[in-house]
Symmetry: C2
């Protein structure tokens, strides 16, 4: 497969990290080798998998100091490895500005490892700055987690514009793989309204799988484990497993 | 009073915009003139109050093209005015880097309007870049909205470090006014654990008022209204009114 997917949305708190960790862990559980790249200075994907946010990180690869191969860490979950983030990454947004080929630093760094994995997933920070642009420039596709809220819908147009710009100028193969509805609470009309609007506007581009609001997804990171390991039978775990299967169906055509 | 407060937390989706809009509206409702500055390129505070995200915005004041006085807009809520955001603000993070006194552009821009309001509140984007640093450099105090989740606690140390740095080098009067627990769901043990941890560590710096998870807070922005106008009797509205009263008590000492 060797598919490289960015998990991106500049709106904060929509479930990017939760999707990156639990989709990667689900694909790994189904037997596919996965690499998760934590491109967010907050380092939530790193700590959510129980790794320390110290030592070398993706930052060193972006500024050309380390090979990506040297930064890969095991996670304790079979078939899942991670490239951690570190607080220095905060400076990268500004430091990258003056470097050559600043938008494609990540793309050229990952090129020699992508073929060793079925999937490489990139967790993005809540912004459309140079870190997210690097992820979009490196990626084959983008998964857009979307909370069923008003503000989440508002930001979508800007995100899709940015994806179009990256596709036109930096990465012609970039496609939107799918929009993923997250933290869905069927008791609220707001969620149903947003779902109707998103499926109406984006049709098949919207994953059939919907991730329900489930407190176990919020608890799992404090134990440094994906939800599939923390509580395999909860709805949070089964919904991300469903998402992994749906993604494999969609990607199967490639 | 003329207090200038930043609403900041680099963790995404913790309730910064919801707090900025509804605290400002509650203070206005209690008879205090308020100005809300939308410093987030997403422009959620602008649209959450029913204003268009077009035309001139705080961006023009940061780069020195417009006076802040010219950017003030009415909101339809008595005693509440807003300085809107606009998508150009996305570029400001990078553009400000090379300007003189880049950290204090906002501080020098607001200085002639602060005295006309009892409170000026600044809604910050989910990052610790130059926009948030500008807000911290201009502010008397910081309110830190905190979701009762694991990742929210994780980012706190980095935010407090940044506040300390700004206080030491750019703005000696900067204080943490309080940590505000948001989206609190009493049915989950996670929320109670986080509350115990935060009150244990920060004591009186934690507001007594806790904002419950309440779907009306998510619905109100789609009508362009603060929750106090959209549904004055709901728990979301009464909790922000309580917060405003508690803030007035705390600030009363100044
Ligand atoms: N389906 C869900 N049900 C319940 N809680 C969830 C769910 N998905 C995510 N969460 C929790 O909601 C919070 C926000 O999710 P997450 O951190 O994954 O979003 P994000 O988009 O990565 O945020 P940021 O913009 O800060 O990077 C986290 O505390 C997470 O544990
Ligand atoms: N107490 C609450 N109960 C229910 N929903 C809430 C509450 N507070 C905020 N929300 C909703 O949760 C989402 C996140 O809140 P909000 O946008 O205010 O956070 P933020 O910190 O400003 O996000 P960002 O980091 O993107 O700026 C919004 O859709 C908002 O309507
Ligand atoms: Mg995240
Ligand atoms: Mg906001």
């Amino acid at each position: 497969m060797d598919r490289l997917l960015a998990i991106a949305n500049q709106k904060g708190g929509v479930g990017k990290t939760t999707t990156a960790i639990n989709l990667a862990a689900s694909l790994a559980h189904l037997g596919h080798r996965c690499l998760l790249v934590d491109l967010d200075p907050q380092g939530n994907a790193t700590s959510g998998l129980g790794l320390p946010r110290e030592g070398d990180s993706i930052y060193q690869a972006l500024i050309g100091k380390r090979e990506i191969k040297e930064l890969i860490r095991p996670t304790g979950v079979p078939n899942l490895e991670v490239i951690p983030s570190q607080i220095e990454l905060i400076g990268a947004e500004v430091e990258l500005v003056s470097l050559w080929a600043r938008e494609s630093r990540l793309a050229s760094a990952v090129v020699d490892v992508v073929s060793q994995y079925a999937f490489v997933l990139i967790d993005c920070p809540p912004s459309l700055g140079l870190l997210t642009v690097n992820a979009l420039t490196a990626a084959h596709g983008v998964i857009i987690p979307l909370q069923c809220e008003f503000y989440a819908l508002e930001g979508l147009a800007q995100l899709l514009r940015t994806i179009k710009l990256v596709k036109a100028r930096l990465n012609p193969r970039l496609e939107v793989v799918g929009l993923l509805l997250t933290m869905f609470d069927p008791r609220t009309t707001l969620c149903h309204q947003v779902e109707r609007e998103v499926r109406g506007r984006f049709g098949d581009k919207t994953f059939r799988t919907v991730i329900p609001r489930n407190v176990r997804l919020g608890e799992a990171p404090s134990f440094g484990k994906p939800v599939l390991v923390y509580d395999p039978t909860c709805r949070g775990a089964t919904s991300y497993l469903d998402l992994a299967r749906e993604l494999l169906d969609r990607e199967g055509g490639h």
